[in-house]
């Protein structure tokens, strides 16, 4: 049996009869498998970063890949993130598809210049003659009592940068399909892995990315639980938490829809509109600080499309405008079940005037 029930219910769209192609894996295993397959399928793909080779990465996402695919295709670099990204740009100019890793979210900052000014812009600058098929893996978000700079949420920064696409999986199934998809795109994709979910096991249907949707690409958002009273919008590790909240709310007769945004750029505005047109209430949840976070964009997209039917302003339940705190305080910082329930309550009880 899968772990997903522990997290408050399986995804709505995968809750049908389990197909034969389904297997239980952790997200770490799903990502590792996706990379293994991508390496096998495309000889131009390369994996590199700090400790990605022999060690298999500090989270073991690249475990065994060097042994299997060779030290030319899976290798360690010196400890310099700008170097890793700058080198990725050069390899892409030479026709390769680099899949670099920065070891932790907070260590993407030294590479921001190469990411923003080079990787995101080379296709444009070169007028489409030098595409940048780079899949940048970033173990992201908090929740593991790690040292400073190991629990950051950079999606708002990345989503604001023209030329980047940004995606974050919420469970092993999404992780497998989204990474396989991202790593075959001709454009740069920032792949934000929720590190607190790496070891959670769940069903992965290797053959179908979306149930009842054979051969479709994992683009756009995905309803992970259907509901009628309110839409919770989340991504990464917050999806599982929102599913938990929805489970609890259901006990009180509140029927919550959980929309897994998946793609943080481009955002699936249609899916947001479709869900909230139905529920007429929305709360967006993220770990990143409130101000200028991606929740503002999501809220504004919803407001734009659903203004006339919205029953209350979209609520944001997010991290605070404070540096990500040390382990002892991280449960105070990351949106917890209580705070999400308070947000839901504010929306449900909103009265005009």
């Amino acid at each position: 049996m899968s772990n997903s029930t522990l997290e408050g219910g399986a995804a709505a769209s995968t809750s049908a009869a389990t197909p034969a192609s389904t297997t239980v894996m952790s997200m770490q295993q799903a990502l590792n498998r996706a990379l293994d397959e991508v390496l096998a399928e495309n000889p131009r793909t390369l994996i590199f970063g700090e400790d990605c080779g022999r060690l298999g990465g500090v989270f073991r996402i690249t475990d065994g890949l060097q042994a299997k695919h060779g030290a030319q295709r899976v290798f360690d670099t010196p400890l310099a993130e700008s170097g890793i990204l700058g080198m990725s740009v050069g390899l892409a100019m030479a026709g390769f598809h680099p899949i670099p890793e920065v070891q932790f979210d907070g260590f993407a900052y030294p590479a921001v210049n190469q990411i923003v000014c080079q990787m995101a812009r080379m296709n444009y600058r070169s007028r489409g003659t030098m595409p940048m098929p780079i899949t940048l893996r970033v173990p992201s978000f908090g929740g593991i009592r790690a040292p400073e700079h190991h629990g950051e949420s950079l999606e708002a920064l990345f989503a604001h940068v023209p030329g980047l696409k940004v995606v974050s999986p919420s469970n092993p199934h999404e992780a497998y399909h989204l990474l396989k998809y991202a790593a075959t795109r001709p454009d740069p994709v920032i792949f934000m892995e929720p590190k607190s979910r790496y070891w959670q096991k769940d069903d992965v249907d290797l053959a179908h990315c979306d149930a009842n949707d054979d051969g479709a690409s994992p683009t756009g958002a995905k309803v992970q639980r259907e509901g009628r009273h309110l839409t919770l919008v989340a991504w990464g590790a917050m999806v599982a938490r929102c599913l938990q909240v929805a489970g609890l709310a259901a006990e009180d007769g509140i029927d919550i829809e959980v929309l897994d945004l998946r793609w943080l750029k481009p955002i699936d505005a249609e899916a947001l509109a479709a869900s909230v047109r139905k529920t007429r209430r929305a709360v967006v949840v993220h770990e990143a600080p409130l101000t200028s976070g991606l929740g503002a964009e999501v809220a504004q997209l919803i407001t734009q499309s659903c203004f006339d039917t919205l029953k209350a302003p979209v609520e944001r339940v997010t991290g605070f405008d404070v540096p990500y705190p040390s382990g002892d305080l991280e449960d105070e910082y990351i949106p917890n079940i209580d705070r999400i329930l308070f947000g839901i309550q504010r929306v449900l009880e909103y009265k005009r005037g």
Partner: protein, 350 residues
């Protein structure tokens, strides 16, 4: 300084008289186009330009060593002379200074010249990545013999962390990269002695186990020879080489700069030394390789060329606004398409 093993084979062969004359013609063409571009800016034909006056020997000499069938060059914003030497379409090149398109309109893949780069030190790491790609392809049997990456940067750019990371990556990976530093004495208003601790960028290479040459960057023959040696070394699988070409930025940093605020004309004259073009002319004359008729012919050709390029630049219209949207991605997005539609409606009124 010269810590590179001596050259042999092709790289050691002296330049023929025809090649020497070709180098001179290139230098004249570059000089003429460069000084003309400043005039264009004054006349309002282009909004700005970064002249390379005085750096013709460094640029033509190094660009001359490139094999455009397999090598790849990573310029900054000041390598017009390199581009011209490599045979890049100069209207397409100059279009970046007309503010037509950031990076220029030439096809980088065909011309083997990466798009023009405004971030100081930005492309140095790209050269390392591209070069390591050649190593990987060669190992996989895809390409042989491998191409070499030639990356340009200035004395000022040498202060950027990316240059250090690039040198270290290249040396660890033994990547076929030639780091070509044009030490022109200035980074806008800051002179090398307050920029480059220790006084020499070439001296940095030893710390990475990378061979280096510090050369007279105003001697075009010395530049060709050094660059050829460096290419041969890198192509043979021996890893990167750094060349520091000592030269002088004789003009302003750019057409909006006023060097009078930070250096006097006397200082300029003393530090600049002899004009590299005039030096080369004297040498060709003395060696009996070219005569005044040849020089006159070269100048006339340069003038004709400049006129053509100017006409091309003047004829260049703005790019269609749709390119703003169409060239962001290989696979566009619904959000971007919606924005493009909105733009068409509100700005194009279609």
């Amino acid at each position: 300084m010269d810590t590179l093993p001596a050259a042999s084979g092709e790289a050691a062969e002296p330049l023929t008289p025809a090649q020497l004359r070709e180098l001179y013609s290139l230098m004249v063409a570059v000089r003429h186009l460069d000084t003309s571009a400043i005039a264009w800016q004054r006349q309002g034909i282009i909004p700005g330009y970064a002249p390379e006056l005085g750096q013709e020997a460094a640029q033509v000499g190094s660009g001359y060593a490139v094999d455009t069938t397999r090598d790849f060059v990573f310029p900054t914003y000041r390598e017009m002379g390199v581009a011209r030497t490599m045979g890049v379409d100069m209207v397409a090149y100059m279009s970046t200074h007309k503010a037509t398109w950031h990076g220029g309109l030439y096809d980088p893949l065909e011309s083997r010249l990466a798009p023009i780069q405004a971030v100081v030190a930005g492309s140095v790491l790209h050269a390392v990545g591209w070069a390591h790609g050649q190593t990987l392809s060669a190992a996989a049997g895809t390409t042989a013999p491998p191409g070499v990456a030639l990356t340009y940067f200035g004395d000022g750019a040498s202060s950027q962390g990316d240059v250090h990371e690039a040198l270290n990556f290249a040396a660890v990976l033994k990547a076929p990269v030639v780091f070509f530093v044009q030490n022109n004495g200035w980074a806008i208003s800051v002179p090398t002695e307050r920029q480059v601790a220790g006084g020499s960028v070439a001296a940095r290479a030893a710390g990475y186990g990378v061979p280096a040459l510090q050369i007279d960057g105003d001697d075009v023959v010395a530049v060709v020879e050094a660059t050829r040696r460096a290419f041969a070394h890198a192509r043979a699988g021996n890893g990167p080489v750094l060349i520091e070409a000592m030269t002088y930025r004789r003009g302003p940093h750019s057409t909006s700069d006023d060097p009078g605020r930070y250096r006097s004309l006397d200082e300029e004259r003393d530090a600049a030394g002899a004009d590299p073009l005039e030096r080369f002319r004297q040498r060709l004359l003395a060696d009996g390789i070219a005569d005044d008729a040849f020089f006159a012919e070269a100048l006339a050709a340069a003038k004709a060329e400049e006129e053509q390029i100017r006409a091309g630049i003047q004829a260049l219209g703005p790019r269609p606004g749709t390119e703003m949207f169409d060239l962001v991605f290989q696979e566009t997005t619904p959000a971007l398409q919606a924005q493009a539609a909105n733009w068409r409606e509100e700005s194009e009124h279609v």
